[in-house]
């Protein structure tokens, strides 16, 4: 659906993107993650044909460079903050965007209704809250039913409720078979994503499925375990017994078992959880409750950035 090959973009002497290549298959969801200034928005603007670039970008077999209009017709774009060129109502803006996208007026009406914005259609578009604007932007991006949706920092400045709503929307869009590219520097979305592309200083520093990347990093999941009070020291001994002592170990990582109220909290890398749990049960310790907090791309973000990490 989207193939970016050797994408390079310079602003004067500054190299914003340096040989970036990635692929998003049809129906997949990809996370473009990186710190501020990593080149995420630049990459998106190149895909949209807004910036001149070196390299090749193909959207659904259409080359952005020489067939920009048709390539953009395949894309629904949700910008970081939807700007309105002039002060008008939500309804007028929707009709205007429908015209730009060659969509029938009725489709704009339906989109507003589906996004529960029809009731406020006469309100000034500029008076919409950030969350409402995002809702509006997504509904407009869906006009003409484009197969690829691109989001630029969709959860910036959005409250927790808005972020949860956005996660639900992403899941809905995935179910609809849409291909998604989401650029963010903080997400909480990686568990829904087929691919994570980690960008730093204009280069890809890691790329793959979130699971693969985490395994490659030996990223540890956090376990919360509730056992009888007397069994706490035995659990600690079992867990710590799985690790060799390393004096250079960073504080708060590795085998340390912390007590948090009734809970014992510790981190275990992939492949070790089952063995540890088996051993605990084998020791006759009754597990009263268990929570596993999986590691995410976001939680391992700085490690992923490696040398590209900001100072």
């Amino acid at each position: 659906m989207l193939t970016v090959s050797n994408l390079t973009k310079t602003f004067g002497k500054f190299r914003a993107l340096d040989g970036v290549s990635f692929k998003v298959e049809k129906g997949d969801a990809a996370l473009l993650i990186g710190p501020n200034g990593a080149g995420k928005t630049t990459a998106i603007k190149c895909v949209l044909g807004l910036l001149r670039y070196k390299g090749t970008i193909i959207v659904n077999d259409k080359n952005v460079f020489n067939d920009g209009g048709r390539a953009r017709a395949q894309i629904g774009y949700v910008p970081q903050q939807l700007a309105f060129g002039y002060d008008s109502s939500v309804e007028e803006q929707a009709y205007f965007i429908a015209k730009l996208k060659k969509a029938p007026k009725q489709e704009a009406v339906d989109a507003l209704k589906a996004a529960h914005l029809w009731e406020i259609r006469r309100r000034k578009a500029t008076s919409l809250s950030h969350g409402m604007r995002q809702k509006f932007a997504i509904s407009m991006a869906m006009l003409t039913d484009p197969p690829l949706l691109i989001f630029d920092e969709p959860i910036n400045n959005i409250d927790l409720r808005g972020q949860l709503e956005f996660r639900n929307r992403v899941m809905e869009l995935k179910k609809m078979g849409k291909t998604l590219l989401i650029a963010t520097h903080l997400s909480g979305l990686s568990e829904f994503m087929a691919t994570a592309i980690v960008l730093a200083k204009g280069r890809i520093v890691a790329q793959g499925t979130p699971g693969d990347l985490l395994t490659r990093m030996n990223a540890a999941d956090t376990l919360y375990l509730r056992v009888n009070e007397d069994d706490g020291p035995r659990v600690t001994k079992i867990v710590e017994g799985h690790f060799e002592y390393n004096p250079n170990q960073e504080e708060g990582t590795g085998p340390q078992v912390r007590q948090n109220g009734d809970w014992l909290v510790f981190s275990l890398p992939p492949g070790m959880k089952a063995n540890v749990m088996k051993e605990i049960q084998g020791a006759g310790i009754e597990i009263r409750d268990l929570i596993i907090e999986p590691s995410t791309i976001e939680s391992q973000y700085v490690k992923l950035l490696g040398e590209g990490a900001p100072a």
């Binding site: 603007k45 209009g69 060129g85």
Partner: protein, 285 residues
């Protein structure tokens, strides 16, 4: 139910925004006051309407006072029209849709031209009605309007070049005011033209005439009246002035009129093409 084309959508949106802009409203008021009311009041304060023999003089005054002001209508409005969208981020959003930059620019041109032309036509029609009450002179005012619309179209094209080039609104305003000053005052040939004509240096004068759209449109207005109406209301060669005489000497008649029309067409097309190339080959951040 079709929502219509992107071209139409942007044109209508531009028209609406322009027609509601404070600058346009303020300009319209000032423009009417200076261009029509003052000459009319001075000439017609003693008479109910302008006598036929004074019509050419009156129109000369109208042309002189209004044409130098005319660029102030389109230049600032057009100069900020793209840069404003660039600053707000809506330009990037519009161009992220299948709408091409060329289509966007052309639609913006059409919208700006429609709104500013509406004001000009309205103004001149109103002035003609007040000054001539549909009697002699109304036809002549039509030729003035025609030339004014041409000048306005050229200025809209120029303004889009400024807007495509500018990154900030203030720069765009500065560029617009500078060009207005350049065309209206720095490019004024009132002093140099008679000297060059007297010395038969017509070709030396030619570039300064053709490179100044205000002068070109002024001459189009005067020539149109001279050629078409004839009779006692015709503009004489002295009314045309040194620049007009220079053109007649170089191109003859009707060659001079044709040269002026071609020049105006080139002003529009070259400027519009320049704006297109600037916008097409630039990054929209």
């Amino acid at each position: 139910m079709k929502a219509g084309s992107a071209l139409w959508g942007i044109t209508v949106q531009t028209f609406k925004v322009t027609i509601r802009s404070k600058w346009l409203i303020m300009f319209a008021i000032v423009f009417f006051f200076f261009s029509f009311n003052l000459p009319f009041l001075s000439l017609g304060s003693l008479l109910s309407t302008i006598p036929a023999k004074n019509v050419p003089n009156f129109i000369q005054v109208v042309i002189t006072t209004s044409f130098s002001l005319m660029p102030l209508l389109a230049l600032p409005i057009g100069a900020v029209s793209i840069v404003e969208e660039r600053e707000s981020g809506s330009l990037a959003f519009i161009l992220s849709t299948p709408t091409s930059r060329g289509k966007f620019l052309f639609a913006r041109f059409c919208g700006l031209l429609a709104a500013t032309t509406f004001i000009i036509v309205l103004g001149f029609t109103f002035a003609a009605l007040v000054a001539f009450r549909l009697s002699t002179g109304t036809t002549q005012m039509w030729y003035v309007t025609e030339a004014a619309v041409l000048l306005n179209a050229a200025m809209v094209s120029v303004s889009l070049v400024i807007s495509s080039l500018s990154r900030k609104r203030l720069t765009a305003y500065g560029g617009a005011i500078f060009l207005w000053f350049l065309f209206s005052y720095a490019g004024d040939t009132t002093v140099t033209a008679p000297i060059l004509v007297a010395a038969n240096q017509y070709w030396v004068l030619l570039p300064s005439i053709l490179l100044n759209p205000i002068e070109v449109s002024r001459l189009i207005a005067l020539f149109s009246m001279n050629v078409v109406t004839g009779g006692p209301l015709a503009i004489t060669s002295s009314d045309i002035g040194s620049t007009g005489q220079a053109l007649i000497n170089i191109f003859g008649m009707p060659g001079a009129v044709e040269a002026l029309w071609v020049t105006m067409g080139m002003w529009m097309s070259i400027m519009l093409a320049s704006a297109y190339f600037i916008l097409t080959f630039q990054d929209i951040r």
